[in-house]
Structures are given as C-alpha cells and as structure tokens.
Symmetry: C2
Subunit: 428 residues, 2 copies
C-alpha cells in the first residue's frame, strides 16, 4: 500500500511574455504558468506524484486555491484505494455538491481537478514502474472503461460501446506499440508562427524547422486579414507545397466573419482552421465547418469537459479533436473524449505547448494509437519549443516526431531547482 | 464625479444545510453563501456600491480570490468613466488576456465578474437616486445597446436588431411601468418542495403557500421515481388542478432517462421540467424538449454565458429562459440574454432563491417587461423564503407577486450586522 501523506502546491510562473513566445490574436502576452502539485507518500523509495494544470499567468493563484479545496479528498488516501475505483474517486471530486456550484466541471475548479488527477496518475505510473502510456496499454478494456465517468455522455457512448472499441483493438496493441517505439509519433510545430514574431523571424524559424525535419507548421492568424495573407504566404513559400500548414485564430471571430476570413486564406491550403470562434459555440462551429469545407475545423483546447466534446461530435462541428491534458478534468476525462472521438471517427491532435503540456499529451496520443483509435494518418501532437529544460524527463523530438517516453510516470515532474526558481510571489 | 476608492470583499456563508433548505437531487446540503463586494467611493453622501455572487459554500473563497484579481481594474476609476463606455469596461475585465484562460467567461472567474459588475450597477443606481429597474427604464434604446458586448452572438442578434426590439417598445414603457406599480410582478415559490423535506412538511407548506396567495409551486425531483410520483401527487392534490406545478431535476439525468422520467410524471401536469440534464448539454436538451412536449423545458441557472443561451435558443432546446443574476457576468450580460430571449420569443423566468438572488432578479424581470419583452403571461420570478432578513431593502411579496422595489440601487446591500455575523473563517 502506498499512502498519500500530503498534497503540496506551488504557483509557478515563467516570464514568457518578455519574448512574445506564445502570442496570438487573443493572448498577446502570456506568462506560461503551472499550478503545480506534489503528492508525498510513504512509499519506501520515496516516490512522489507530480502533476499540474497550465495557465498563462494571472489566475494561476485561483487554481492553487482550488487545488487546496481538494486536499481533504486526497491526503491520507491510499493509491491502491483510489485507483481500484477511479471513476468513483473522480466523481467524488468533480461532483462535490458544494464545489461543483462554482463550475460545474469547468473553469478554475476543473483546471484544479486536472492537476490533482494527473498527479495521481503520475504516482500510479511511477509505483508501477512504467511510463504512463505503458501503464494504460497494459490495462484490459474493462479496466480502462472502469476509469471513466459516463454521466452525461451515454446518449453518444455507453460503457458497453467503449468496451467494444477497446476490445476490437486489443489483440493488435503490441504491433502498434512496436511501431511507435521504432518510428515515434508524428508532430507539428507551433514555434515558428507566433503572432508577435516579425516576418524575418517567421521566415528564419520556418527554415530552421525544415532543417530539423518538421513537415507540419502552425501559424497564428486573426488580427488583420492582410497581415495574415502576408504571413501565410511567407510560411507557404518557405515550407513548400507538400508540408502541412495549419492556421489558428484563437477564438476571435464571429461566425460569418470566420467563414469569409478562412476563404481569404484558402489559397495557402490550410490543413485546418483552429479555434475560429468562442470555444463554447458548438452550433457556430458547425456552421463554420459547413462553410469552409474541405478545410477542416479543429478545436478543443478550451472545450471544458466531455459534454462539450460529445456535442461538437454529434453536431459535426469539428474535424480534429484537440484535447488538452489540463483543461479537461485530468486523464480520466481525456480517455472519455478519446473514446468519443474513436466512436465518431475523428482524429485526435492534442493541444500542447505552454509549459509541460507537450510532456503530458505525448502519452495521450500514444495510448490513443495503441488502444483506442488505432490510427495515425491524420493525427499529430502539437509541439512548441519552450521550457522543456525544466523537466526531469523532457520530450525528445527527432525529425519532427515524438520519441516514446521511457521513464516511469506521466513526464510531469519538474526539476527541484526549476520549481524553486520560479515560485511566484504576489508582492514581486 | 464619483471615484471608487477601494474594493472590499467578504466571504459570507450561512449554515442553511442544517435545515435542508435548498436541498435537491444534485445539492443535498447547500450552505448559501455570497462572495460580497463593497465599493467605497468619495461621494459626498458616502454612497457605496454593493454586489455579490452566489455560491453554496465550499468554493466561495475561490470567488473571493478571483474578485481580488479584478481589483486593479476598479480601484481609482470614476463611476462616470466606467458607465460612459460600459461594454468596453465589461470587455476589459471579461477579456483580460491572462485571466480569461481560467474561464473563459465561465466558472469562478465569471462568477467573480458578476459580483464586481453588479456592485457597479448598485453604485450607479444609488448615485442616480433610482432603483436599478428604473435607471434602466430611463435609458434610451441606444444607451441600453451600448451596455452590451455582442461578441460571439452576432449570428443570432446584432446591435441593430437589439435596438429595434427596444425601440418598438419604447413608446409604451410608461404603461407597463404603471401596471407593475399597481399589480406587482408574478412569481412562484420553491420554498415548499425541497427534496429534504418530509411529506408532512411538503403538505403543510403547500397549504401555507396557498393561504399566502401563491398560485405556482415548484417541487424538486430526480432522486427516485416512485418517491417523485408520491411527492408530486401530494403537491398536485394540495394545490388543485388550476395552480401551476413545476418540476426541477437539477441536472441528474441522461437524455433518454429524462424523457422517460418526465413522462412518468406527466399525469401531475407539470408546467415545466427544469434542468433535466447537464447544463452544458444543448443538444441533449433539444432532444428532451422534442421528447416531452407539450411539457416545456426550462434551464439557465447554470448556463454560464450569452454564447450558451444563444445556442439553447438557436437549437430550440429551451422554452423558458432561467437567467441567473450572478452566473452570467453581471447585469450587462443578463441584458444580452434578455434581448436574445425576446428575439426568439421565449419567456424569461429568472433563477432565484439562495441568498439575495430574489433581491437582484426582481429588477431583471421588471426591466424585461417594461422595455425588452413587454410580456408577462408566461413569465414568473422564482421565490424562496430564505435569508431576506439580512438585506436593507428585501423583496416584498404580496399575494404571490413581487412588489416593485423603490429604494435606490440593485437591492443588493446587506445589513452591516449580517455581514459582520456571517463572515466565514476557514479555521472555524
């Protein structure tokens, strides 16, 4: 038995706004931040669970305060007790009758839930001595289904259907695992296309990306249409006709405006348009999707729970499922969305970047391929080249692909010095 | 000029769970709470703006922390500067590029926005020497439209359409104002039907309600179907065939389950079914609405912003628009939803109860009748008889109708002693 003795939190903020890393039409000056959780245990080897939720600066303190509200549910519990009935545990936190009022299952309280749940998964994988993707790959379909809270999605996916999806792929899991170990997982880079970067920097970063072996690039759009045409032209010119170019508007448009704007960028052959509208606007996305086909609509980094993804899929409002490891209520809810995506036959391309999101989502995409969708053709993991140096098991990219992580855990653990150096103090 | 010198906050909690007031299928033991804001000013008469957001206990501290994050936007500002361009001010807070990440426009950060915005409205109305509904009733259509952030709703309602809706009713505002002053605004009571109350107490409260002149009653359902049939039968028996009976499931069902369950209660002639599903499930509500007609679907107390209401209306997923004064980002966003409801020709029946919600929403319904929908036949304000004694200008109910508030402000101000007595301390 491994008992969780304490839950510690750290408000970590990195001053990324100084360099306009991460700048887009909605977020001109993010300071990548983590509301960071450490679960200390009585494990004889001193194993800890690390997890976090991601924010972009102000408001990170709210996630810290919300994690504090979950402390009584976690401290004193045994890992084995939690994971033996993990959907029940997840519901206990997500459904606390008073706390859910300030969500429910959205915003600060749900971001905080992700930090706690992800730390438990990190702990579980470390105790099991496996990287998280492998811990999952070794679970039976029944065990995996038992991790999921199916409330409010059973009109789209029942536990039985989920089990069937998993069972169909179970005999061939090993083949896909071997393929991943050989080839890695496909990825694209967002690092070249931030809105705050100059044309020269954009051009230079495209060339650098090609030299590194990238064959898919994302560029931020949505501030000014002529500027977008100029910047997309530069990117397309640099990367050539055969590499993928994705555009990302970060929620700034109205419905009709989105359709027109995307059409004005059609000549640059975007592989998808990402976040054209408010992330809550399912019906609006459905209209945009109909209006811009064959260009595909991608969204999800701000889709706050499985109920939203269910509807996006039911309404045929998204073509690319961009789950976020921290916006959803941790890995358990992510698994629900992967299963929904498999049911509706849509590719999963997780949102990443920021601080630590790449480290987390690589596991998500790998388990999706091994056990849930079984597909790779239309799937990519996002990559941005920031802040990986703070992690003890950072992502490894080779020729535009994620190598398979090998260290036990969820790759979520930061170096002690990085934690110490980046604790934020309000009075600074 | 009235300058806002300071923003103070109080975490107020009332131990309502001791008496099972407010108990329902989702919320067995709420402690009605307010994250309470006081704006102190340099007004020569010492006028203050009071506002709050409502929660049910744990998590209230998160709203307090989020209000703190808005402090720099408010302190030092002049009231006149804020209200001269109030949509701009609203956007500044709702759209802060870092804070919006932990929403956006939902959950803790949006509840906190409501507290701040509502306090500004209270201040404005007090400085103007008018109750809030009257301050609004004296604005021109153009002034009213200028209060609203139309981002992400323009595919359903443009500023021009909003102005047309308001202009059509402008010449007859006086008639409706006079009617309200004479007759009050229709209401229904939730006080009889809490799930935690015994059959005897339910029966006794129905009789008491009838004696007080109520002709519409709400009862909580969703825990156990036979129990619901027994309790609905008691209520229908007590209130007779002609009074309205509404049922409220507080989000506990799946889609098919909701349709079946409501059909099993059909014989008690419910006037609406409230919150059958997850509040995020627009498409699910549309299916329930089609499945249970002519029984109408009501929802909205957990619909977190104008984008959600827009879609509920576009999808024909709700028949009764239950705006909440604090779940939406304060009065400015409430006005957007009232205009959407008018455009789609659906009645507004605000969510109330808790602590102070009745005090707020009476103003909302009255301005809806005077200036926006112009209709009263299908509209009612919710009423629950808890905690009114803490307010300096509590609601006045006569024969099941809200009397029109007369004191300047948004009726949001609690008595100093009530504030002092109910400040919550974590260590208690």
């Amino acid at each position: 038995m491994t008992r969780i003795l304490s839950l510690q939190m750290h408000d970590l903020r990195f001053p990324t706004s100084k360099f306009l890393d991460g700048s887009d039409a909605m977020n001109p000056d993010p300071d990548y931040s983590a509301a960071y959780v450490i679960l200390r245990t009585d494990h004889p080897e001193g194993i800890e669970g690390h997890g976090f939720t991601f924010t972009i600066g102000r408001g990170n303190e709210l996630c810290i305060a919300a994690i504090e509200a979950f402390r009584p549910f976690v401290e004193g519990q045994s890992l084995e007790g939690i994971v033996s009935e993990m959907a029940r545990f997840w519901k206990l936190l997500a459904g606390d009758s008073q706390l859910r009022w300030v969500g429910p299952e959205k915003g600060v309280i749900h971001l905080a839930l992700a930090a706690v749940i992800n730390a438990i998964w990190d702990l579980w994988a470390k105790v099991a001595g496996k990287p998280l993707w492998k811990l999952l790959a070794d679970l039976s379909p029944e065990q995996m289904v038992s991790l999921i809270d199916f409330r409010h999605i059973q009109d789209a996916l029942t536990p039985r259907e989920a089990c069937e999806i998993l069972t169909k792929l179970q005999p061939t899991r090993g083949e896909r695992e071997a393929q991943l170990l050989r080839e890695g997982y496909p990825a694209y880079t967002t690092s070249a296309g931030w809105l705050g970067y100059s044309d020269d920097k954009l051009r230079q970063l495209c060339r650098q990306g090609i030299a590194q072996g990238w064959d898919a690039f994302k560029i931020k759009v949505g501030r000014e249409i002529e500027e977008d045409r100029r910047r997309c032209a530069i990117m397309r010119q640099e990367i050539g006709a055969d590499r993928r170019l994705m555009i990302d508007a970060n929620q700034v448009w109205e419905v009709d405006q989105a359709i027109e704007w995307v059409k004005a960028l059609r000549e640059f052959d975007p592989w998808w348009i990402e976040e054209p509208l408010s992330p809550d606007d399912i019906l609006g996305h459905a209209r945009v999707a109909r209006g811009v086909r064959p260009i595909r609509v991608a969204t999800g980094e701000h889709a706050h729970n499985r109920v939203m993804f269910k509807q996006f899929l039911q309404a045929d409002a998204l073509d690319v499922v961009q789950v976020d490891a921290c916006r959803l209520g941790g890995l358990n809810e992510v698994l629900a969305v992967l299963l929904l995506a498999a049911k509706f036959n849509k590719p999963v391309c997780p949102h990443a970047g920021g601080v630590g999101l790449c480290e987390l989502v690589q596991h998500i995409s790998m388990i999706d391929f091994i056990a849930i969708s079984g597909k790779l053709e239309q799937s990519m993991v996002e990559y941005a080249g920031h802040l990986h140096e703070h992690f003890i098991d950072p992502v490894r990219i080779e020729r535009g692909r994620y190598r398979v992580p090998q260290m036990p855990g969820y790759s979520a653990q930061m170096k002690p010095q990085s934690i110490a150096d980046n604790v934020w103090h309000a009075e600074r």
